[in-house]
C-alpha cells in the first residue's frame, strides 16, 4: 500500500486536514474520511454528476479529481450550501417546485446550479439546460429542475 499523503485544504469554509492514499479520489475522501455523504456516487467516471462539488468556485465531478490535488484548494459541498439563517434560495426553490423525486441527484444539481448562478445571475432556459447537462436525473424529466433554477435566479437577482 502506498504511503498516505497529508493534505490541508478548505472544505465548506473551514480549514480541514486529511490523510489520503494517492489513488483516492476527492469523492472517496469526502464521503469516507470527512463524512460528507451528501455528495453522492452514481457512476464514478464523470458521467452522472451526482458527485458535483465546487472546487475554487467551479463545478467539478469529485470522482474525477484526485484527493492529493486538494492541497491549498477550496472545496464546497452540499453541506456547505445552507447557512444557520436557513436554506439557500436554490434549495428552497427545489422544494417549492418539487424539483426532486428520489433526491439522489439533487445535491449535484444544486451545486452545479449554484456555480451557474454565481457566474451568470440571469441565465436563459437554454443556458441552464446546457450548464446542467452534466448532471443526470432519471426521475423528473428535468422540467421542474429547470423551473426551480429559473425561479431561484429571479429571487437571487432581486435580493
Amino acid at each position: 500500500m502506498a504511503k498516505k499523503v497529508h493534505i490541508t485544504t478548505t472544505v465548506n469554509g473551514e480549514e480541514t486536514e486529511f490523510l489520503c492514499e494517492p489513488r483516492q479520489t476527492l469523492l472517496e475522501v469526502l464521503r469516507d474520511d470527512l463524512d460528507l455523504t451528501g455528495t453522492k456516487e452514481g457512476c464514478s467516471n464523470g458521467n452522472c454528476g451526482a458527485c458535483s462539488v465546487l472546487l475554487n468556485g467551479q463545478v467539478v465531478d469529485s470522482c474525477l479529481v484526485m484527493a492529493v490535488e486538494m492541497e491549498g484548494q477550496e472545496v464546497t459541498t452540499i453541506e456547505g450550501v445552507a447557512s444557520a439563517d436557513g436554506l439557500h434560495p436554490l434549495q428552497q426553490k427545489f422544494l417549492e417546485h418539487a424539483a426532486l423525486q428520489c433526491g439522489i441527484c439533487t445535491p449535484g444539481f444544486i451545486m452545479a446550479a449554484k456555480a451557474l448562478l454565481e457566474a451568470e445571475p440571469n441565465p436563459t432556459e437554454e443556458r441552464i439546460r446546457l450548464y446542467l447537462a452534466g448532471n443526470l436525473c432519471r426521475c423528473t424529466g428535468y422540467d421542474k429542475i429547470v423551473r426551480a433554477v429559473q425561479d431561484a435566479a429571479s429571487v437571487m437577482s432581486k435580493a
Partner: protein, 759 residues
C-alpha cells in the same frame, strides 16, 4: 369497508388533497442529510465485492479462491456453496414472482454462468480496494459456450440452450420439447378470423426493441450484520423492505422474523430495485466474519448484472372496417427473460390493446431465455414494448383511412364495460376523457411549422396494482400525528400519504410527520411498484385516519360526559350536537388524552380491491436532421387520467419523468452486445440516457376521473406515462420525414438507414 358515496364521486371539496405542500423529507434531501444505503458506516465494517463472469455463457469447471483468501486484509470469501440449497419453487415477491432455485443461482452462479457479469464469488475485506484486489487473485476455469442474445437467436432450431433440461410449457401443459422458450400463453376474445374477414384495411408489422435499463442514479447497495444472537439486519436501497426480507430469509434458510430490513432512502428504482443481488451475500459474509459488511455496486455492475427490462419482438396485426371501427387485432409477443425464466410478455399482452374496445382479439405470448441478466420490471413492464407496436400500426391505419389519430382512438376507445382480451371488464375509466383533453390541448391544436418536422401521438394503458399495505399512527399531545408506513418513498409518497391522513382528520399536511419504517416496525407492506403506493398505502392511511377519528370521538364523549353519538367531528373540530358550547379542536383534545384513557393510536392493514387502471396520451413534435439522423424533441405533452391528484406537483413529476424515460427508450437507450455476448456499453457515457439538453419542458394535463375503488378516487400514476412515448416519437418521425421505424431505439444510425432506404 365501503367509502362514502360523495368521496367516490370526487365531488367533495377537499382541504388538503390537491394542494402542493413541501414534502416532509425535502430539507434532508436538498441539504445532503438524507441517508441513502451507501452512506451507512458501522463500527468494524468490512467492504464486500463480487467477482463476475467475463463470459455471457460458460460452464464453470473450477473455482480457486485460495490466493484471494491469503491476501492481507481479506476476511471472507464465499461461493454459491455457502448458500443453502433451494427448492424449484415459485415465490410471489410483490411485483413479479421468483423461483427460489433461480434466485440462488442468480446471486451466485452454480455450474454455469448465464450472462456477462453473472456473480460467481463474493469477498469481504477491510476496505473496498483490497476486496477488489482479491477478486483479481481468484482463478475460475470456464468452458465457454455460444451465447444467444435475441429472441430470434434463442428460438432458432439448434440454438444453444441455457438450461439443457428446459422444456416449453404451452397453455399450461408441458410440451416436453427442449427449448429456450419457457412459456407460451394465449388470450382470445371473439373470433379473430371472422373479425379480419370483415376488415377493409389490415396492417401487419413486426417490431424489435432493445434491452434497456431503468437507469436509477443510485447503484444497488446493501449492508448486513449477522449478529452473534443469529439476528440479521440488512440496510439497503429497495422498493420494498418486506420483499427483501422474504428473499433474503429464503436464501439464508432463516425464518423471516430473524431478518430485519431497514430501507434507507432510495435513489430511484423504476422496478429495478425489487430483486435482491447483494443482500444475501453481505449477510453470509457478515456471518463468516462476525462483522458488518457493506457492498455497493459500481455503475458497470449495475448495467451488467442487475435486471434491465426485456428486449422484445412483437408482431402486431389490426383490421379496421372502412367506417373506422377496429374489428380484429392479433399479436405475437416474444420477450427476453434474460438468463432465468421470467414473465414480462404477460403484462405486455394485457396492455397491448388496452386502450381499445375490440370485439375479436388473439394474442400469443412467449417468454424466452437469452444470455443477458434476468430481466426485471421497468415502469409498466412489458407495456411500452407492446404499445410501440400497436400504436404504430394504428398510426398507419389512420393514415390509410385519412382520419385524425385522436378521433380514431376516441371512436374505438375502451370505456366502462369494455372487455380486455385477458379477461377483465373495465370499471369507470378515464380513457375517453383523456382523448378529449388531448384533442383540446394547445399543443395538438397548434400548427407545426418547418421542414422535417412532424407530430405524433400515442396512447398507453397500464392496469396498476393493489397488493397489500400497512400503516399506524399515534396522536401526540400537541395534536400532531406521527405516521408510520411501510412504503419506501421514491417520489414524494410520504407526503401524498400524510395528505390523505390529514384530509380524513381535517388537519394540515404539516400536522402529520410521516416515517417509512423497517420490517420490525410496521405491518407487511408490498413494494413501491405497480403504481400502488398512493393508492393502496393511501387506503391504509385513510383507514388509520378513520380509526383515530372514532377514538377521538369516544375521548371527547368521555371528557364531556355525553354519549358518543352526541359528538360531531368536522374539519378537525369536535363538538357536541346538543350543546354548542362544548367544542374542542383536535389539538386541544390531543392534550387531554392522558386524562381520558391514555394514548391514541390508529392502525390499518389493507389488501384493497378496486385498483383503477390508468390511461395516458402523449403528443410529441420532432425535427429530424436528415444529414445525421438525429431526432430532436421540440415539444412534448402528456394527458393522463390520475383519478385524483393528491399532490399535483408530484403527479406531474411522475408524468414528466415517465415521458423522459420513454423518450430515452425511443431514441438512444440500448444494451449493445458484442458477438461474444459481452456488454459493450456498461457506462453512463455509452448507455445514453436523456440529459437536460435533450428535452424540452414537458407539458402535463391532469385528468381526474375518480377511481371508484379508492376513498379519494386515486388511480396509480407512476407507470403509464412511459408507455406511449416510443410510438408517439416513431409516428412523429414518420410525419416529419416519411419513414416508419419498427425497431427501438430510433438512433441516428437507424433513422439514416431508413432515410437512405427510402431514397
Amino acid at each position: 369497508m365501503a367509502a362514502q358515496e360523495e368521496d367516490y364521486l370526487g365531488i367533495k371539496d377537499y382541504k388538503v388533497i390537491g394542494t402542493r405542500p413541501i414534502r416532509h423529507d425535502g430539507v434532508d434531501k436538498v441539504t445532503g442529510r438524507a441517508k441513502y444505503g451507501a452512506d451507512i458506516d458501522l463500527a468494524g465494517m468490512l467492504h464486500g465485492k463480487v467477482l463476475r463472469s467475463p463470459h455471457a455463457h460458460a460452464r464453470i469447471k473450477s473455482i480457486d479462491v485460495s490466493k484471494a483468501e491469503a491476501l492481507h486484509g481479506v476476511k471472507a470469501v464465499i461461493t454459491v456453496k455457502d448458500l443453502p440449497l433451494q427448492e424449484d419453487k415459485i415465490k410471489d415477491l410483490g411485483e413479479g414472482a421468483a423461483n427460489l432455485m433461480d434466485l440462488r443461482c442468480n446471486v451466485l452462479a452454480e455450474n454455469k454462468v448465464l450472462y456477462h457479469g453473472h456473480a460467481i464469488v463474493a469477498v469481504a475485506a477491510t476496505d473496498a480496494n483490497t476486496a477488489e484486489e482479491a477478486l483479481e487473485l481468484i482463478e475460475v476455469e470456464y468452458e465457454v459456450l455460444s451465447p444467444v442474445l435475441t429472441v430470434h437467436d434463442a428460438i432458432a432450431e439448434g440454438a444453444p440452450l441455457l438450461f439443457e433440461e428446459q422444456t416449453t410449457k404451452s397453455l399450461g401443459e408441458d410440451t416436453g420439447k427442449k427449448s429456450n422458450i419457457t412459456t407460451h400463453f394465449q388470450h382470445k376474445l371473439g373470433d379473430v378470423e371472422a373479425g379480419f374477414a370483415q376488415a377493409d384495411v389490415v396492417v401487419e408489422r413486426e417490431f424489435d426493441t432493445a434491452t434497456v435499463h431503468q437507469g436509477y442514479i443510485e447503484p444497488q447497495n446493501a449492508t448486513a450484520l449477522w449478529n452473534a444472537d443469529g439476528q440479521v439486519t440488512v440496510w439497503c436501497s429497495t422498493q420494498g423492505a418486506f420483499t427483501v426480507r422474504e428473499q433474503t430469509a429464503q436464501l439464508l434458510d432463516l425464518p423471516v422474523s430473524q431478518v430485519k430490513v431497514v430501507p434507507m432512502e432510495i435513489g430511484g428504482g423504476f422496478g429495478g430495485k425489487i430483486r435482491v443481488y447483494l443482500e444475501p451475500l453481505a449477510a453470509v459474509l457478515s456471518k463468516k466474519t462476525g462483522r458488518p459488511v457493506k457492498m455497493v455496486m459500481s455503475r458497470t455492475e449495475v448495467l451488467q448484472a442487475t435486471g434491465p427490462t426485456a428486449g422484445s419482438y412483437v408482431k402486431c396485426k389490426m383490421g379496421v372496417s372502412k367506417d373506422g371501427k377496429i374489428v380484429a387485432a392479433q399479436a405475437t409477443l416474444m420477450y427476453e427473460s434474460g438468463g432465468f425464466p421470467g414473465n414480462w410478455a404477460a403484462p405486455g399482452s394485457m396492455c397491448i390493446f388496452g386502450p381499445y374496445n375490440i370485439p375479436n382479439i388473439h394474442i400469443d405470448g412467449y417468454e424466452v431465455l437469452v444470455n443477458k441478466p434476468q430481466t426485471m420490471a421497468y415502469r409498466a413492464p412489458g407495456a411500452t414494448n407492446a404499445a410501440f407496436a400497436s400504436e404504430t400500426v394504428i398510426d398507419e391505419i389512420c393514415e390509410e383511412l385519412g382520419v385524425d389519430p385522436l378521433d380514431f382512438r376516441f371512436q374505438n376507445a375502451a370505456k366502462e364495460g369494455s372487455r380486455r382480451a385477458d379477461g377483465p371488464t373495465y370499471p369507470r375509466i378515464g380513457n375517453e376523457e383523456c382523448l378529449n383533453v388531448a384533442r383540446a390541448t394547445d399543443h395538438y391544436k397548434s400548427k407545426l411549422e418547418g421542414k422535417k418536422r412532424g407530430r405524433g401521438v400515442a396512447s398507453g394503458f397500464w392496469f396498476n396494482a393493489g397488493l397489500q399495505s400497512s400503516a399506524s399512527a399515534s396522536v401526540n399531545a400537541d395534536g400532531k400525528i406521527s405516521l408510520v408506513e411501510g412504503s419506501t418513498d421514491i417520489g414524494g409518497s410520504r407526503t401524498s400519504l400524510a395528505m390523505q391522513l390529514a384530509e380524513v382528520l381535517g388537519l394540515q399536511a404539516t400536522d402529520i410527520k410521516p416515517q417509512v419504517a423497517d420490517t420490525d416496525s410496521v405491518g407487511e407492506t408490498d413494494v413501491t411498484g405497480g403504481s400502488r403506493t398512493t393508492f393502496a398505502t393511501g387506503w391504509a392511511v385513510y383507514k388509520v385516519g378513520l380509526d383515530i377519528k372514532v377514538q377521538m370521538i369516544e375521548r371527547a364523549a368521555k371528557f364531556w360526559e355525553i354519549p358518543k353519538d352526541d359528538v360531531k367531528y368536522e374539519d378537525g373540530v369536535l363538538s357536541s350536537v346538543s350543546d354548542s358550547s362544548k367544542t374542542m379542536t383536535f389539538a386541544e383534545l390531543a392534550g387531554k388524552l392522558d386524562e381520558t384513557g391514555g394514548p391514541v393510536m390508529g392502525r390499518a392493514t389493507v389488501q384493497p380491491p378496486g385498483v383503477g387502471g390508468a390511461f395516458a396520451i402523449v403528443i410529441v413534435d420532432v425535427e429530424v436532421d436528415t444529414d445525421t439522423g438525429k431526432v430532436e424533441i421540440l415539444r412534448a405533452s402528456i394527458v393522463q387520467d390520475v383519478g385524483k391528484a393528491i399532490h399535483p406537483s408530484y403527479v406531474e413529476g411522475q408524468m414528466q419523468g415517465g415521458v423522459a424515460q420513454g423518450i430515452g427508450w425511443a431514441l438512444n437507450e440500448e444494451y449493445a452486445y458484442k458477438e461474444d455476448g459481452t456488454l459493450a456499453n456498461g457506462s453512463l457515457l455509452d448507455y445514453r440516457m436523456p440529459t437536460c439538453l435533450d428535452l424540452p419542458m414537458i407539458e402535463t394535463h391532469i385528468v381526474e376521473v375518480p377511481n371508484p375503488g379508492h376513498p379519494y378516487g386515486v388511480r396509480g400514476v407512476g407507470e403509464v406515462p412511459i408507455v406511449p412515448p416510443p410510438a408517439a416519437v416513431a409516428n412523429a418521425i414518420y410525419d416529419a420525414v416519411g419513414v416508419r421505424l419498427f425497431d427501438l431505439p430510433m438512433s441516428p444510425g437507424r433513422v439514416l438507414e431508413a432515410l437512405w432506404k427510402k431514397a
